[in-house]
């Protein structure tokens, strides 16, 4: 078996980011944000999406300046191998933990909603082969497959939003939470954001022609707006009981379950969650593979898949089994990892603009 890796274009990168921006933000996050920050929770995603857009802008500047080089090469060239290796070890850990969190949230959703008596291993049996296959097939194949599914994903999200609007209970938002509580909630859930950091990992695999950057920025903006709308509609639909409903996109449809004899249309959101989850996990694995390759350049990339699978199974199988544990993992451990997308990577990227190169930059 050979790991295939060819370049991706602006559309494929944009769609990957579009998928990444949804993640658990359409499932458990709106409910958790409401629990901590009340109605003011609607502002938290907006704030973080602005930060993510800033991260993307930083990438745009870096990519424009160094179109053919990888982020890893730039780090090694300016700061030396230790900094490059440490940064990519952190990124490996970050993507692994994010995958664990997403898998758990998705698994708990399916176990509670559909597969009540089924074990976690059934889901692993389902998810692992597909994410492995997508990641091993390479970035281009993954990008093209996501491109094929993109119209369906967008239609599903828009459909859910339109249906969700009919379920809105209150149109008045009474803000009452103090700033400290909002800030604390934002800090607790910071790890749910920052996925845009992927662009730095795939930097050398992206080919963006002049004028195509708007595609990437438009898709990221679109995803951000849609996630914010889902959060707002969810909170307006449930107002004061939103914290009791952990699956936002699914819950906003439950008011309008039966529609004209067509059956329960909330299955549409379930299909959307499945598609997002499969692709999302595959992107995390691919990102892990690319980071692993930078840390161990001489090792066959298939070992990175093996490492990811083993670590993933270990964490999922032994440490995190229910929603409470998953939420606790997300609130207590993962926030420290947020320093990678919102701290380490932007600082290093900023320094790349400021510090002069050590030696002549060559194409890899």
């Amino acid at each position: 078996m050979k790991v295939l890796d060819k370049n991706i274009n602006a559309w494929q990168l944009g769609i990957m980011l579009f998928i990444l921006l949804f993640a658990n933000k359409i499932l458990v996050l709106p409910s958790l944000l409401f629990e901590g920050a009340g109605l003011e929770a609607v502002f938290i995603p907006v704030l973080f999406f602005v930060l993510e857009m800033g991260l993307l802008f930083l990438f745009y500047k870096l990519k424009t300046k160094h179109p053919a080089q990888s982020f890893s090469f730039l780090l090694k060239n300016r700061f030396g191998t230790p900094v490059q290796v440490v940064a990519f070890v952190f990124l490996c850990a970050y993507f692994l933990c994010k995958a664990v969190l997403l898998y758990n949230v998705t698994y708990i959703f399916f176990r509670n909603v559909v597969y009540k008596d089924y074990s976690s291993f059934l889901f692993l049996f389902c998810f692992i082969p597909i994410m492995n296959h997508l990641a091993i097939s390479g970035l281009r194949v993954m990008g093209r497959t996501m491109q094929l599914f993109f119209p369906f994903m967008l239609t599903i999200v828009l459909f859910c939003l339109v249906v969700g609007v009919f379920g809105i209970n209150s149109s008045v938002l009474m803000f009452s939470k103090p700033f400290a509580e909002i800030a604390l909630t934002a800090a607790k859930h910071i790890s749910s954001f920052g996925d845009v950091v992927l662009v730095f990992v795939v930097m050398h695999r992206v080919q963006i022609k002049k004028g195509e950057w708007k595609v990437v920025f438009s898709l990221v903006t679109l995803a951000s707006v849609l996630v914010c709308l889902i959060t707002v509609i969810f909170i307006l639909s449930y107002t004061y009981t939103a914290f009791m409903h952990p699956y936002a996109i699914f819950e906003i449809m439950s008011y309008v379950k039966e529609y004209g004899g067509l059956g329960r249309i909330d299955v549409v959101s379930m299909v959307g969650i499945i598609v997002f989850a499969y692709f999302h996990l595959a992107i995390y694995l691919k990102a892990f593979m690319l980071c692993f390759k930078e840390v161990f350049p001489k090792i066959n990339p298939l070992y990175s898949v093996l490492t990811f699978n083993l670590a993933f199974l270990l964490i999922v199988g032994f440490f995190i089994l229910n929603l409470e544990q998953a939420v606790s993992f997300a609130e207590k451990i993962l926030p420290y990892f947020a320093i990678i997308p919102f701290g380490i990577v932007p600082i290093l990227s900023g320094l790349l603009f400021l510090i002069k190169k050590r030696k002549e930059v060559k194409n890899e």
């Binding site: 399916f110 559909v114 296959h133 390479g138 093209r144 497959t145 094929l148 059956g263 299955v267 499969y278």
Partner: protein, 474 residues
Amino acid sequence: MSVEKILERYKKQLHNSVDIADRMIDVGGVNVGFIYLKSITDSALFAEAIFEPISRFKQTLTFENLKQIVKANDVSTIQQAEVLENILKGAVVIFISNSQEILAIDIMKYSTRVPAEPPTSAVIMGPREGFTEDFQTNISLLRRRFHSEQLVFESLAVGSITQTKVTVAYIEGIADKSIVKEVKKRIKKIKIDGVVDSYYLISLLSNRPNSFLKQVGTAEKPDVIAAKMLEGRVAIIVDNSPIVLTVPFVFLEDLQSSNDYYTNYIYSSLIRIVRVIGLLLSSIGPGIYIALQLFHYNILPIKYLITIADTTQPIPFPPFIEILFITLLFQVLYEVSLRLPSYLGLATSVVGALILGDTGVKAGLLSPPTVIVMAIAKIALYTVPEQSAQITIVQYVFIVLGASLGILGIIGGMIYLLAYANSVENFGTPFLAPFSPFILSDNKDGMLKVPVNQMKERPKSFSNEEEERMDESA
């Protein structure tokens, strides 16, 4: 060596096969020996155009006279090493005692089928000719469509025993030279004892021979092949096969039908959408049905759920076994109807579809919704007949996924399948083009079809030498 001994030697080399004919006559003191295979030569033509003029010749026969007096077109002087090959290809080989030179006259003749409409590519309006097993007929069917010197046929022999003629056909100036070169290279590399049909070449011409996906196009109609060649594809004609291969191949080709081009474009677009629906119904329909029945029954409309519950409740088998049983039954009936004579095939269909199906339902062994779902799936399979084998495999996989993992498994399977299809490329052409990667201009003849006057360019899914196919002013 005397002519008699020469003839004896070749007869021996051909193991004194029953269809060998040899004859020796004396013409003005010169011995003339003929040897040929009766089974593949035109005996009447031999008597009239070769034997009679030679036997009536009154002067001393020389090799030059011999070439002049025979009344045949395809006359050639050959080497000793080529004698057997010429005999086996239907030529009469002539030896004369006063010359070392050997004459071969091609008068090959064998029974062939008349070009008829292929059963799987019928059209309501449009050409009804189909290729036959005769290589020359197939070439003439194509040549008739191109009155141009740009049409090129290059012949190669494949198979150490069969020496089957494999012809590479393309239009010079349109087909990409590198693709033509690669096709010839791959054909020359084939080391096999024999090629009985063009299907033998499919896996040998594929980049991923073990893949279940079809990577080489097939067609039985000359108009289809002509249209594909005009787009820049290379055709491969194999002697003794009515199926002509084309490369590069994209999945979209099998969604298209020649009928689409001989009818209104809006209707064609509609029919293509129907084909895609048929494809989905047959590939994932049974899988979704079983997933709904086992895992997601609560999403069904309540009236439909009651109907299903009422009909499936008395069935003694689990839904998975029930659906597998029906699938197997259909497959058995299909295989039987293919092999039985048509009058018996009809009877089998009646027994299978009406008696077994109806009795199975009445006996409480099968539920009506399952029978209906499987019947729809199996009928819909033939909306894209060229892909029926592949869809059948996919159908089985989705039944297993639906039964074991529900919708989660079905969607996972779809992602896996599409990612796999996306990874398949043959002759540098992505299998799912122009859908993935998305090529807007090629989608003019994709899921929807625009009128011919708007298809001004050749497909961009694969490379060709000339992009424009219509003058801009048209």
